[in-house]
Subunit: 304 residues, 2 copies
């Protein structure tokens, strides 16, 4: 089963041209993540019939309003929908303060467990871990502390070729073979490289917004199946991109190319661009497997 | 010129059935007001092409999220649009604290003057006054401090009948006649009741949400051209209305009838009602001039 990414918002700063504020839902085998939560995210959940039952973790990249002003409304609505499951919020520390003031002033406190996890400045901080995947936060270069996220499936197992094994072959030895170890059974050696097929490559997704062109991202995005990288501007506005700590489409593509990712998804578009083909062409000149993020579109990440 | 009310949201608590969170724009001759600012208000501004140039005052009825979670996004967007004009926010005091924490944590401070005015518990507090109209806040009965608003045009002037006056008649005496005073000019008495027509009735609009059935509202809504009153539930859920401090459609109509308003506009509908005809019929049984508020619809208040 592949992971599924649903784009809910691609506009930077303010709504324009039917584009919403940043938000994405990543559904993995074990967990569903909401990444950023701009104003209107709960409307988009309804527009695209996003199921929230398995949504346990919300990740907020940074504390600019267009990336989190939808959070309080979403939490309120979860409460009204009778949510019981715990909700984990990962964000720069200031957000805890904002949530606390809201809860106190509105006299609304969720009945479901709400746990806040501060993302600090550490490089490559693991903020989520389960038997199937980890999520790592890493620093971007923006005007306020800002983090990218890498969703990394753990090493997958080799595949058994059943006809290579006797019917009585025990399960615990099968598991060792899947992990790539050779085993002995009834005086015979079974070599993993002979009786199993190589594992499929682990899935990975990397989310980078907001950020100026920032070379350390290349390592964190290395080899990802899909990289979402902000492309607020075109090269003709490179100076403005630099000044506001955003990227151009060409810069996003340069990161994608040097990180050798599978595909690049551009987003966080400036309201100055009604039509986005210019950004797409600029990126494709550097990295052909570039695409435009669009509200409501789904991306499959990895395949079994 | 009549006043114009544009409905931007009619849902209670959470979005449903294409209904947005509470927000309305009232355009008067001198000033434009935004009344409540639920999440998504700035999207509705775009959807309905609301001009914000003359929008100088935002009134927030109470600090439940569905009535103000769109405020921070709107302020941010005003900044991005280059707003220079002052913005006045009238709301229960806690909102100042919420705004302050946001500004500090997001490191965003508007460049235009932003002035906060706390609405306190006083009965009939005048929160806005200009030569043409006043706005009064008055208490409702809800689970947190909550205020209704009465927009009241000031006494209008009588109309001169020019052919009843000599060509040389001086302006300052005309003004006295318009105010209803008799004057003497060139040894002749001009009686206001003879040389002028009665003034047209002053316009008035009253906004009441959220509130349980609350008799003091009747006085504050007295004779209004238009009353917007919440009707979260139908009578069959009267107990739930009481428990949550909301009104039924019948209760809203009872207020309208006893306040002898011109028309009643129902809003703040519970998500349990996809179709609203039941609420409308229930209200019309008590007060025939009842109507349903609907996103994007405009209401003309008063006529010249």
């Amino acid at each position: 089963v592949s992971w599924e990414l649903t784009i809910l918002g691609t506009s930077s700063a303010t709504p324009a041209w039917e584009r919403f504020m940043t938000a994405q839902v990543l559904r993995t085998t074990t967990q569903t993540f909401l990444i950023d939560c701009g104003e209107g995210t709960q409307y988009q959940f309804r527009n695209y019939k996003i199921k929230t039952g398995k949504l346990g973790h919300i990740l907020i990249s940074h504390l600019h309003g267009d990336h989190f002003y939808g959070l309080m409304g979403l939490i309120s609505s979860f409460q009204l929908q009778g949510r019981k499951e715990p909700l984990h919020i990962h964000a720069p520390a200031g957000l805890a303060e904002i949530l606390t003031v809201h809860f106190r002033c509105t006299q609304f406190f969720p009945d479901f467990p709400l746990q806040f996890h501060a993302i600090d400045q550490a490089n490559g901080q693991v903020i989520y871990d389960d038997p199937q995947l980890t999520v790592m936060a890493f620093p971007l270069r923006h005007r306020v502390p800002c983090f990218g996220f890498r969703f990394q499936e753990k090493a997958t197992l080799r595949k058994l070729v059943p006809e290579m094994l006797p019917p009585s072959f025990p399960f615990h030895l099968m598991h060792l073979l899947k992990q790539g170890e050779d085993v002995v059974f009834e005086d015979r050696v079974y070599e993993a490289r002979r009786v199993t097929l190589p594992p499929r490559p682990p899935k990975s997704y990397v989310f980078c917004t907001d950020t100026a062109f920032f070379e350390p991202v290349i390592d964190f995005a290395k080899g990802a199946d899909l990289l979402y990288h902000e492309a607020t501007f075109m090269e003709e506005h490179a100076e403005r991109a630099f000044y506001t700590a955003h990227s151009t489409a060409k810069q996003a593509a340069t990161i994608a190319q040097r990180a050798e990712v599978g595909q690049l998804l551009l987003g966080h578009f400036s309201i100055r661009y009604q039509h986005l083909n210019g950004l797409l062409q600029e990126a494709r000149n550097v990295f052909p497997a570039s695409f435009l993020a669009k509200e409501g579109e789904k991306w499959q990440i990895g395949a079994d």
